[in-house]
Amino acid sequence: MAASAGRLGPTTKQRYSIFALARNALGYHEGWQQAWRSPEPKKAYDVVIVGGGGHGLTTAYYLAKLHGVRNIAVLEKGWIGGGNTGRNTTIIRSGYLWDESIKLYEHALKLWEGMSQEINFNVMFSQRGVINLAHSEHEWREMRRRYEAIRLNGVDIELVLPDEIKRLVPIINIDPNIRYPVKGGILQKRGGTARHDAVAWGYARAADELGVDIIQNCEVTGFERAPAGHIVGVQTTRGFIAANKVGCVPAGHSGVLAEMAGFMLPIQARPLQALVSEPIKPCIDKVVMSNAVHMYISQSDKGELVLGAGTDSYNSYAQRGSPNHPEHLMAATVELYPITSRLRMLRQWGGIVDTCPDASPIISKTPIPGLYFNCGWGTGGFKATPGSGHVFADLIAHDRPNALAAPFSLDRFRTGYLVDEHGAAGVAH
């Protein structure tokens, strides 16, 4: 049993369950143990993971669980859940165009389906179904092609016509004369959402149980190499930490870390913005995405409408974007969902995404032996969280990419074998 194997770690945890909740209620909830430790960094580790987001934590978790690596540190410059893992709009699906992408994202989706049981943490994975809308003849044609590609890979997907979309999403406006008419869509019923904070916390707790040291407020400031070139450790704001292997999962800061290591990546850091509305009664129980107008919508369990906008055009590390993007998003939202016209927005924020020229990730060895990068997920990394960590742990453990990760190596920009997912990525890069 995968779950019971996870209970073998050196820092055995209380199991979370309805009985544990009842038991702790009797003690006024003062008996809960901390979800993960905050240890002082050791002098040396077998593997250091740079970046404590979802992808970094799952990498550490799978390294410990599947590859027997017991001496691992995750270095996070801020706090767990404070980066893009806690800033995204939590959409999960695997409906991409190319075989390579479908296999990778479907691998992740299957891991999502067992995640809460495996890590004993309720990530509130809700397979409510994801609809991608087509707003023009050309997009509808592209979407039908993608539908066939997804079906050929054995992944669930359905074509839905405007009347069916209206039945599934009653608040949508399917008038053919609006600015962005609904021509049709594809529906993946196994897609949905999850609670992003719980994913970060759950994997932090599960990795900690397997002995992984999670070190927050620890920023990497440089890489150290042996004379022969192999990585020997990282300089951090908390001193030098030796490591046999270093895996970097830094999302928006990929370019900064690569520059520190002395090579360039085909990646640009851009702001991506999102908003939530004031909470309202349940009115939409699907995730609906409109690639052409850069808006996507779902409703959280609290009742807020969660809205995602497009990326800003310019490079930035400021975690904020220009107001014309939310404005553009709201215009499309009000036209497609007229009931939102008097809805007020509660919060708006931005995260820095690492956009890649082909809208596909980079899971790769680097020019430096012992240094690995997992980055370039751009606007859609959350859906891949467990799959990304799973294949990246395998790459670090064996020093060679497995079949799922190999198409996403850095050398594709030299060979020309790009995995162009601009049509399916949901947000133009």
């Binding site: 370019g255 690569a258 520059e259 360039m264 990546l265 085909p266 990646i267 850091a269 220009s322 014309n324």
Partner: protein, 101 residues
């Protein structure tokens, strides 16, 4: 809103512009002689600086001309704006040639 100073039209909302990413990337002078690695560098590899960064902008909804800006990508502060062909102002931003040297 990011105000972008167009050398011809003055400071304007960034929504009027098309962004051109890193400035001063020269096209290989003899393309037929380029190796795959040189094409990769020219087509895909771009600096992704956190801090002062020389970048290209096109005033797409204005005068439609290209120009260069040095902007801090962390604070969004614009440090300089100059026309194509003009020398890059020296304000501490290391350029690609210096970096590679």
């Amino acid at each position: 809103m990011q105000l972008v100073p167009c050398p011809w039209c003055g400071p304007r909302d960034d929504a009027e512009f098309h962004y051109g990413a890193e400035a001063h990337v020269a096209r290989p002078s003899v393309p037929a002689d380029c190796s795959d690695a040189e094409w990769e560098a020219y087509l895909y590899l771009r600096r992704n600086t956190k801090g002062p960064f020389a970048e290209r902008w096109n005033h797409a909804h204005g005068c439609r001309r290209w120009f260069n800006v040095i902007r801090d990508t962390y604070t969004h502060e614009v440090l300089a704006s100059y026309k194509p062909g003009e020398a890059k102002p020296d304000i501490g931003e290391t350029d690609r040639a210096q970096k590679d040297a």
